[in-house]
Amino acid sequence: MSKANIQLPIYLDYQATTPTDPRVVEEMLPYFTTKFGNPHSRSHSFGWEAEQGVEHAREQVAALIGANEKEVIFTSGATESNNLAIKGVARFYKDKRNEIVTVVTEHKCVLDACRHLQEEEGFKVTYLAVQQNGIVDLEHLRQAVTDKTALVSVMAVNNEIGVIQPLKEIAAIAHEKGAFFHTDAAQAAGKIPLDVEDMHIDLMSISAHKMYGPKGVGALYVRRKPRVRLHALIHGGGQERGMRSGTLPTPLIVGFGKAAEIARLEMAKDNERIRMLSDRLFNGINNELKDVVLNGDRAQRIPGNLNLSFSYVEGESLMMGIRDIAVSSGSACTSASLEPSYVLRALGVEEEMAHTSIRLGIGRFTTEAEIDYTVETVVKHVKKLREMSPLWELVQEGVDLKSIQWSDH
């Protein structure tokens, strides 16, 4: 296949971040130069103009998730939103309820915020296991939630494996015991339909840069009826109804709003294309290679995330081979820890398989030609690496790898 119509490197890491849509950038630009006012300035038109931009964006973000604009609090991103939701709610209600229920496959910032509350502030935190397909077991959840539970926090879409959690069912279980339900929707907003009313969600974290908006801005949806209250993390001028002080970054927020609007209007069209590309990638690889395993539920997932284990080929060596394609590895050998992904381990994926995992992320700007090039390149390198893999050789000889006494090092 010719490389004529593709530009290298190819970006297939849409879960890490997305490029800002040019239409979003366009919308943002005037707010850097001419409409630069402080949106909290009440005494002149510069301030009013900026405030108008912010409030319009608030409506656009609210519309994406079926919320009222008064329920949207702007933050610096999903990490801050998750921290504000978890610590804010836990601290506000701690006299009556001091328990939190979350899941082992949550994003690090959720787990770390919970761990802080557990270790430094005396909260009891339950970390629920997931099933082999990455989905929460609702019966286990029901058993974990008590009348002391202040908050249940379960992510909407997992960043590593792309599985979608049953939000509406989880919300119902939380509410049976009077707990609030928070969801980290950083990977979900703009990709799956979300409706806080229909799904009975009390708090929801969103990030702009995961949905073709700018980096450095996000939102926390905080339900007003029935009212969810929380302690602020950042104190100051009392902006965002006192929940998040600090001057709002108008250009970023305006961009976030535009990104939300585009996502709302084009979600169906985007998803159809991404699903087609995802199938093309998955089938293309599987037609040429055996022993490729898809991690996470086959059906309950967003199509833009394919987390694949290429048995007997170590993930980082594959990434090095296909280095004109930007992907991410579940082997985590790239990080300092050398531990394979905790999310894959939570699914019961064996360590040796976790070391062979690659996350391929497809998005709005991925082309068919890029997918075809990726299939060809991945297949070529997996074959080459299997030829040099002692494990592949042993398995082809009929040796059970588990029968070998491996050394530790």
Partner: protein
């Protein structure tokens, strides 16, 4: 992370990939590491009657640094005596390939692989020598 040129060269054009007959008397095989740790190296040496390593082959499951480390040592051991090959240190491998600190364990594994291959060869050679001397094969060769 950015990789050094020599490392990339050994990863992209690995030397001496392959396998030799592990049952041959003049072949020593070392299989080190573990799949669960993300690296496994198989290194084989073929030794002449004079004790010179005539050929070396490897197969590695592991990151680019692990592949490069094992490729490099197959080059280094060829033409050396078994005793000389045994003195190769992981620090030399790491230095030559400019391995980052987090990848030093790959060079350690490569050193282990040579040592294991040599030990396997000696064990076989010892058995041959003992058999020739009409001694029982179960006597430890080392």
């Amino acid at each position: 992370m950015a990789y050094g040129e020599k490392l990339i060269d050994h990863y992209e054009n690995p030397r001496n990939i392959g396998s030799m007959d592990k049952n041959a008397q003049d072949v020593g095989t070392g299989l080190v590491g573990a799949p669960a740790c993300g690296d496994v190296m198989k290194l084989q040496i073929k030794v002449s009657p004079e004790g010179i390593i005539e050929d070396a082959k490897f197969k590695t499951f592991g990151c680019g640094s692990a592949i490069a480390s094992s490729s490099l040592v197959t080059e280094w051991v060829k033409g050396k005596t078994v005793d000389q090959a045994e003195t190769i240190k992981n620090t030399e491998i790491a230095q030559y390939l400019a391995l980052p600190p987090v990848k030093i364990h790959c060079s350690v594994l490569a050193e282990d692989a040579i040592k294991a291959a040599i030990a396997d060869y000696r064990k076989k050679a010892g058995k041959v020598a003992h058999a020739a001397a009409d001694e029982p094969a179960k006597v430890a060769a080392e």
